[in-house]
């Protein structure tokens, strides 16, 4: 159900603003609303004085987050009493703390990054230099010469004679270019030229767009063999040094983490207080806070305010018209078994305040549909077991927990429907003496009753949606919607009466009442839709009929599952080897189980979202986000 809300206003002197915001934050039960929208003549509170503090805290928060991310958090992370940061000078204190301790960590992190970069690039240098070393014996005294190493893809080998010619033009006979294949794809080239020709040669290389092998700063001018040996030595040392740095980083962050985590929480709280001010209104001496609160929490807030400020800010409930109430934030609360389905409702969108919360109905129908589609004692047991074990082992929370809870309920319903259809891993139940309470789905004789049953179930589900829609439209005084939904409901009844007569399930005499009911339904639909209804009413009615037929998937998905199980069992039985048979059967049933958990979930969800909800559900509610709960 949607928890009833009240709109309240808190008015007080500005000297109480900070304390009031702290108190409301602590209680975490008020969803702040824009005060100037509630009281149009009121001036918006402009937090000029707090601007600098907000920016400072946002910067410190980013720096804290960066520091905390330097080393992985130990588990469990110890926490420190947050009271140490409950100070008016939080920003200054924290800045001082960070300036004292952060540079050590940042230096370590920089060194770690540099080492990681070296570990990444140095092997490439070593490999290339080793290849180029074959070219170096021709080099003698290099003190007055500069050397440039090039790696050229074989595809561009034509550039080498061109380079040699251009270099001779620049440096005459005092230059040398030697080239040789270094691997299947590349040609290594070594350019030796006088230092004074460095500028023109570099310009030439830039124009030619060949890739130079630039050595790290420390290795510039070092002969190749020495450079390679140096790189290898460096690569050998890097893991050890990295390990030492990681350990030191972990030690340092472990020392500061509890304090910084507490600081982070305090900064977030303070930032929330500062940012809340943008929702307020003000006069010269007072502030005005407007918010939505669950009605049940109103006395608690009132009592807390009175206790903290005997002569301070006053709280009043604002009388709110129905149109404004539609904008109230939505807080859903349901009995425990229905709670997993809140997640599935919210996955689509929250209902508008004051309309119906379909969670409880979803909790009833969704596992039922799931079970009907799967309808097998064996699969149901396995899904129930897997869901329960996963729920306990994985300590699942949030959406995953909701899905596991749903699967457990679906598994239980599947066991029940499995007894109805007499299925245990397909037809294996026969061997165990399991007989269907109603019909066996694999039996061709069962097809027609099964299809009729699912259509009947669909008609009841869609009909229920329409009844809820009619009631909701009546309650909200939306006459157009009321006539539309009522017309659709009546029209569907007429349509089914006529189909019953045509299919000879009803006496021929029912054709006149059926036709009359259908026409009344169409008339109501046209009344609700206006002139457009003359064209749209029959289309809408057919679309609703299509919605009912859509429930045939309950039978279709189930049949696919049964036949896959039967194929697995039959194939396994014909293999002639017990071991191989068990293996093949296990393979088929595993596949069927995986599909049996996934497909019915999606289809049951779709039947709710598309067929059921479209008849009454008004989506678009704003979630209730109490100030202080973040």
């Amino acid at each position: 159900m949607i928890i009833p809300m009240a709109r309240v206003v808190i008015v007080g002197h500005k000297r109480h603003l900070d304390a009031t915001l702290q108190l409301v934050q602590r209680l975490a039960c008020v969803h702040l609303a824009n005060a100037t929208e509630a009281f149009p003549g009121l001036a918006a509170y402009i937090p000029t004085a707090e601007q600098a503090e907000t920016e400072e805290l946002a910067y410190l928060l980013a720096r804290l987050d960066a520091l905390l991310a330097l080393a992985p958090a130990p588990s469990p992370t110890p926490t420190e009493r947050t009271a140490v940061w409950e100070t008016e000078h939080l920003a200054q204190e924290l800045r001082r703390d960070l300036e004292r301790h952060a540079p050590i960590l940042e230096a370590l992190a920089q060194r770690r990054q540099a080492l990681r970069n070296e570990a990444e690039v140095l092997p490439g240098y070593a490999a290339t230099l080793t290849k180029l070393m074959r070219l170096t014996p021709i080099l003698t005294d290099l003190t007055r010469y500069e050397t440039v190493a090039l790696l050229i893809h074989r595809r561009y080998r034509d550039v080498i004679p061109h380079l040699a010619e251009e270099m001779r033009r620049i440096a005459g006979e005092r230059c040398e270019l030697v080239a040789d294949e270094v691997d299947a794809d590349h040609i290594g080239a070594l350019l030796v030229f006088p230092r004074e020709a460095s500028g023109p040669v570099q310009a030439l290389l830039g124009r030619s767009q060949v890739s130079q092998i630039t050595l790290p700063e420390t290795l510039r001018g070092v002969p190749f063999p020495e450079a390679v040996a140096h790189i290898r030595e460096q690569l050998r040392r890097i893991p050890e040094e990295l390990k030492a740095i990681e350990a030191e980083l972990a030690r340092q962050t472990a020392r500061h983490r509890p304090r910084w985590l507490a600081a982070r929480a305090a900064v977030l709280r303070r930032l929330e207080q500062l940012r809340a001010r943008s929702q307020l209104g003000e006069t010269e001496h007072t502030f005005v806070l407007v918010g939505w609160i669950p009605r049940r929490d109103l006395p608690r807030l009132r009592a807390a305010l009175e206790a903290e400020f005997p002569h301070g800010p006053a709280i009043e409930e604002i009388p709110t018209d129905p149109a404004t109430m539609l904008k109230a934030p939505v807080l859903l609360e349901n009995p425990r078994p229905a709670q997993p389905f809140q997640f599935l409702v919210q996955l689509l969108a929250l209902p508008v305040y004051g309309t119906l919360d379909p969670t409880a109905l979803m909790a009833l129908f969704m596992p039922l549909f799931f079970g009907l589609m799967l309808g097998d004692v064996g699969y149901g047991l396995l899904i129930l077991l897997i869901a329960l074990v996963a729920r306990t082992r994985m300590r699942a929370s949030g959406g995953l927990r909701s899905l596991l809870d749903f699967l457990a309920m679906g598994g239980a319903w599947s066991i029940l429907w499995g007894f109805v259809f007499g299925e245990f891993f397909g037809n294996l139940g026969h061997a165990l003496g399991l007989h269907p309470l109603w019909r066996e789905r694999a039996d061709p004789e069962a097809l027609a009753p099964l299809l009729l049953f699912t259509i009947g179930l669909g008609a009841a589900h869609v009909g229920l949606g329409l009844v809820l829609g009619v009631w909701q439209a009546w309650r909200g005084r939306h006459l157009g919607e009321f006539y539309e939904r009522a017309g659709m409901l009546v029209g569907l009844c007429g349509l089914f009466l006529l189909i019953g007569v045509i299919a000879r399930r009803l006496p021929a005499g029912w054709i006149t009442p059926g036709l009359a009911v259908l026409l009344i339904g169409l008339a109501l639909l046209i009344r609700g839709m206006g002139r457009l209804g003359l064209i749209m009413a029959p289309i809408e009615l057919l679309s609703a009929f299509g919605n009912v037929l859509s429930y045939l998937r309950l039978a279709a998905i189930g049949l696919a599952s049964v036949y896959l199980a039967l194929v697995g069992n039959t194939l396994a039985g014909r293999l002639g080897s017990v071991g191989l048979g068990v293996l093949v059967a296990a393979l088929f049933h595993s596949l069927n189980l995986a599909m049996g958990a996934f497909s019915p979930t999606i289809h049951a969800l779709r039947l709710h979202y598309v067929e059921f909800f479209s008849k009454f559900y008004e989506q678009g509610g704003e979630p209730f986000r109490p100030y202080g709960a973040a």
Partner: protein, 74 residues
């Protein structure tokens, strides 16, 4: 022969509608996954949109069942 034709008709009713559904879902699904990557809160609506064309194959299944049950005398 007649039973064979009925079976082919039923198969076509399911097969062609399944193809249509698949083609529609492939386009909606691709766009939907893109939208979900940008805005995860759209997950529910994307599931809904992807699921809408399935009605075609279900109606195909209904037609196939009618062919087999009403005309085939099953």
């Amino acid at each position: 022969m007649e039973i064979g034709l009925l079976a082919i008709g039923a198969g076509l009713a399911v097969g062609l509608t399944a193809l249509g559904t698949g083609m529609a879902q492939s386009r909606i699904g691709a766009a939907g996954v893109g939208a979900m990557a940008e805005m995860p809160e759209l997950t529910g609506r994307v599931i809904l949109l992807v699921a809408i064309p399935e009605t075609m194959v279900i109606l195909g299944f209904a037609v196939a069942a009618m062919i087999l049950l009403l005309l085939g005398g099953g």
